[in-house]
C-alpha cells in the first residue's frame, strides 16, 4: 500500500533538461549544413543527399522532443521561468532545425551549383550561422546554473554577456550576408535567372539561421529580467 506522496507529486518535471536536450538536437541539424554545403560546392550530390536526409531525421527528432516538452508543462506548474516564455523558447529552438531542413531540402532537390565567386563566402556565412546556433546552445546550457543561483547575481551577468556575444556573432553573419549578396549581384547576369533567384534565397535562409539563434538568446534574456 504505497501512498502516493504529495512530495513526489510536486516535483513534476523541470523544463530545463528537456530544453537543453532539444537545442542540442536542433544544433546538430544546423551543424550538418557545413559538410552539406561543402558537398554541394564540390558537386557531390550523392553525399549532399545523404546529409540532407540526416538533417531531416534530426529535425524530426527535435520535433518529437518539442512535443514531449509541451505535454510535460501542465498549467499547474509553478516555475521561476514563466510557462509561455519556455514555450516561446522551444518554438524558436525548433525553427533552427526547421530552417536547416528547409535550405538543405531545396538545395539538394534542385542539385544547385554554387558559382566559384561566392563559394568561399557562402561557407564562411554557413560557419557564422552555425556559430550563432552554437552560442545559443551554450546559453541554454546555462539554464541549470541559473536555476541553481535562483536567477540572481553573477551568473545572470555572465549569461547576459553571452547573449551580447551572440548578438555580435549574428551581426557578423549579417555583414557576410550583404557581402555575398553584392558578390552575387556582380555575376548574376551570367547565371540562369532561376538559379540566381534560388542562390539569393540560400543566402537569405542561411542568414536567417543566425537570426533565429539570436531570437533564442533574446527570449532567454527575458527570463533574466525580474
Amino acid at each position: 500500500m504505497v501512498r502516493r506522496s504529495p512530495i513526489t507529486n510536486m516535483f513534476a518535471g523541470s523544463p530545463v533538461a528537456p530544453l537543453q536536450e532539444h537545442i542540442s538536437k536542433a544544433h546538430e541539424a544546423v551543424k550538418k549544413l557545413e559538410p552539406f554545403f561543402v558537398a554541394v560546392i564540390a558537386k557531390d550530390y550523392e553525399q549532399a543527399a545523404v546529409l540532407e536526409r540526416e538533417i531531416h531525421r534530426l529535425e524530426v527528432e527535435a520535433d518529437d522532443l518539442k512535443h514531449s516538452l509541451r505535454i510535460q508543462l501542465p498549467n499547474s506548474l509553478f516555475m521561476p521561468m514563466p510557462r509561455e516564455r519556455i514555450l516561446d523558447i522551444v518554438l524558436n529552438q525548433d525553427r533552427l532545425a526547421n530552417k536547416a531542413k528547409e535550405v538543405a531540402g531545396y538545395v539538394s532537390g534542385r542539385q544547385m551549383s554554387v558559382p566559384d565567386e561566392i563559394a568561399d563566402l557562402l561557407i564562411e556565412l554557413v560557419k557564422q550561422s552555425i556559430a550563432s546556433s552554437r552560442q545559443a546552445k551554450k546559453i541554454v546550457n546555462e539554464l541549470d546554473e541559473l536555476v541553481e543561483v535562483g536567477f540572481r547575481g553573477r551568473e545572470v551577468s555572465s549569461v547576459e554577456e553571452m547573449i551580447n556575444d551572440l548578438d555580435d556573432i549574428e551581426y557578423g553573419a549579417d555583414k557576410l550576408g550583404t557581402q555575398i549578396n553584392n558578390a552575387l549581384f556582380v555575376i548574376e547576369k551570367n547565371l540562369d535567372p532561376i538559379d540566381a533567384v534560388f542562390l539569393y534565397r540560400v543566402i537569405q535562409n542561411v542568414g536567417e539561421v543566425a537570426d533565429i539563434a539570436q531570437r533564442v538568446g533574446a527570449r532567454l534574456e527575458l527570463l533574466l529580467a525580474r
Binding site: 504505497v2 501512498r3 506522496s5 513526489t8 507529486n9 516535483f11 513534476a12 541553481e148 547575481g153
Partner: protein, 421 residues
C-alpha cells in the same frame, strides 16, 4: 468501573495492538516523505536514510514526543468531565485508533494525500463531541490545532525562503562558491544541532524525567551544536573536489558540501518527525493505559510511561523495516531534481517548524509542512518547476479527512460501548 477492572488486560492489549498498527503505518508511509528529500537530492543513499530514520525517529519519539502525546491524550477531550464514566474515554480512544487506521488504509488505496495527524485528531474530536458531549471537547485547543495546520506550512515556507536566500547571498552568488561553502556550511550545521537540542531540552526531556534550568539548557544546546559542527567540518575536509565535475555543472563541487549539511538536516527531520507523529499512534494508547491501570482514576497528572513511547518508536522502525524502505526509494527517486542546497533549505525549514510544534504540543502534519517549505524555496526561484496542483489536493484531503475520521470513530465508539457493557 468494574468493566475496566474485569477487562483490563484485553483493553490494554487492544490499545497496544491498534497503536502498534498505527505506528507501523506511520513508519511504512509517512517516514518516506520526511526522508525522501535527502534521498532525492543524493545526499544519502537509500540504505543510509533507512538507518538514520530508524535511529532518529525512535530518538525523537522517546526524547521529544511527550508534549504532543499529552495533547492527543488529554488535550482534546476534557477528561475531567467524564466523572463516573471513565470507560467512555477508553472506548473512544480505541475507536479513534481503529478509525484513523482504517481511514488511512482507505485513503492510501485511493491515493489521497491524507495526513495521519488529521485523521486521529478528527477521530478524537468526533467521538468526544458525539459520544461524550459537545462540552467535553476543548474547542479552544482544537481551534489552536486547526490553526496550526494552516500556519505550519506557512511558517515552514517562510523559513525555507529565508534559508535559501541566505545561502544564495553567502555562498552561491559569490566569486568562489566552493570556498564560501566550506566556510559557512559548518555554521549551518551548528544551527541544526542547536535548534534540535534546544527544543528537546526545553520541552521534550521533562517527559523522561529530566529538567534543567534555562542557562544550562542553553549551554548544553550550544555544546551539542559545536560538536556536530566539528563532525561536519571533518566530513567536509575529507571530501574530494575535482575541477572536471564543475565543467558540466559549475556548482557540482559546492553541492557536495551541501550534501554533508543535508545529512544533518535529514537527521533533524527524522528526529522532528518522530517527535510529532509518534503521538498519533501512542497518545490514545497512553490514555487507555492511564485510565485502565489506575482502575478508572482519570489521572490528569500522570506522565506518559516511557515504555509506551518506546512502543511507538519501535512500531515506526518496524514499519520502516517491513515496508517503508520501499516507499523511501519511490519517493526519493521521484524528486531527483532537488539539489542538496535546496533539499537542505526545505528540510531544515520543515524540521524546525515541526520540532517547535512538538515542543508546543501541537500535532501537525509533517508532510504538509514539508510541502510548504518546498514551495518557500520555490518562491525564491530556487527550483526548476513545482507542480502546485498538489496544494489543491491537500486542501481537499483536509475537508474529507476530518469528517471521515470523526464518523468512523463515532461508529466504533458505539460498537465498543455496546460490546463491553
Amino acid at each position: 468501573m468494574d468493566i475496566l477492572v474485569a477487562n483490563s488486560t484485553i483493553l490494554i492489549g487492544m490499545a497496544v495492538v491498534f497503536g502498534l498498527f498505527m505506528a507501523w503505518g506511520i513508519g511504512a508511509n509517512d517516514v518516506a516523505n520526511a526522508m525522501g528529500t535527502s534521498v532525492g537530492s543524493g545526499a544519502l543513499t537509500f540504505k543510509q536514510a533507512v538507518i538514520i530514520a530508524a535511529i532518529f525517529e525512535c530518538a525523537g519519539a522517546v526524547l521529544a514526543g511527550g508534549e504532543v502525546t499529552k495533547t492527543i491524550r488529554k488535550g482534546i477531550v476534557d477528561v475531567s468531565s467524564l466523572g463516573s464514566t471513565p470507560e467512555l474515554l477508553v472506548y473512544g480512544m480505541l475507536a479513534s485508533l481503529l478509525a484513523a487506521g482504517i481511514w488511512l488504509l482507505v485513503a492510501t488505496r485511493m491515493g489521497w494525500p491524507v495526513s495521519t495527524t488529521h485523521s486521529i485528531v478528527g477521530a478524537i474530536v468526533g467521538f468526544g463531541a458525539v459520544g461524550i458531549g459537545m462540552e467535553a471537547v476543548q474547542w479552544v485547543k482544537v481551534g489552536t490545532i486547526a490553526m496550526s495546520w494552516v500556519t505550519s506550512p506557512l511558517m515552514a515556507g517562510a523559513i525555507g525562503f529565508a534559508l535559501f536566500r541566505s545561502i544564495q547571498k553567502l555562498i552561491i552568488d559569490t566569486e568562489d562558491p566552493l570556498e564560501k561553502a566550506k566556510k559557512y556550511v559548518p555554521y549551518y550545521i551548528f544551527m541544526v544541532g542547536f535548534i534540535m537540542a534546544m527544543v528537546t531540552l526545553l520541552k521534550g526531556l521533562k517527559h523522561v524525567g529530566v529538567k534543567l534550568p534555562f542557562d544550562q539548557n542553553m549551554m548544553y544546546a550550544t555544546l551539542i551544536g559545536v560538536v556536530v559542527a566539528l563532525i561536519g567540518t571533518v566530513m567536509i575536509k575529507r571530501l574530494k573536489f575535482t575541477k572536471k565535475e564543475d565543467k558540466k555543472f559549475h556548482f557540482a563541487n559546492m553541492e557536495k558540501i551541501f550534501g554533508v549539511l543535508m545529512i544533518f538536516t535529514a537527521i533533524a527531520m527524522a528526529f522532528a518527525h518522530g517527535s510529532n507523529d509518534v503521538a498519533n499512534a501512542i497518545g490514545p494508547v497512553a490514555a487507555v493505559y492511564g485510565i485502565v491501570s489506575s482502575a478508572g482514576e482519570v489521572a490528569a497528572k500522570s506522565a506518559t510511561p516511557i515504555w509506551i513511547l518506546v512502543l511507538g518508536g519501535g512500531g515506526i522502525v518496524l514499519g520502516l523495516a517491513t515496508y517503508g524502505h520501499k516507499v523511501i526509494a519511490t519517493v526519493g527517486s521521484g524528486i531527483s531534481e532537488l539539489t542538496p542546497s535546496r533539499g537542505f533549505a526545505a528540510t531544515l525549514a520543515a524540521a524546525t517548524t515541526v520540532v517547535v510544534a512538538s515542543g508546543t504540543g501541537l500535532p501537525i502534519s509533517t508532510t504538509h509542512t514539508l510541502v510548504g517549505a518546498v514551495i518557500g524555496v520555490g518562491l525564491a526561484r530556487g527550483i526548476g518547476a513545482l507542480n502546485i496542483g498538489v496544494i489543491q489536493k491537500i486542501f481537499l484531503s483536509w475537508i474529507i479527512t476530518l469528517p471521515a475520521g470523526a464518523i468512523l470513530s463515532i461508529l466504533f465508539f458505539f460498537f465498543f460501548k455496546g460490546a463491553f457493557s
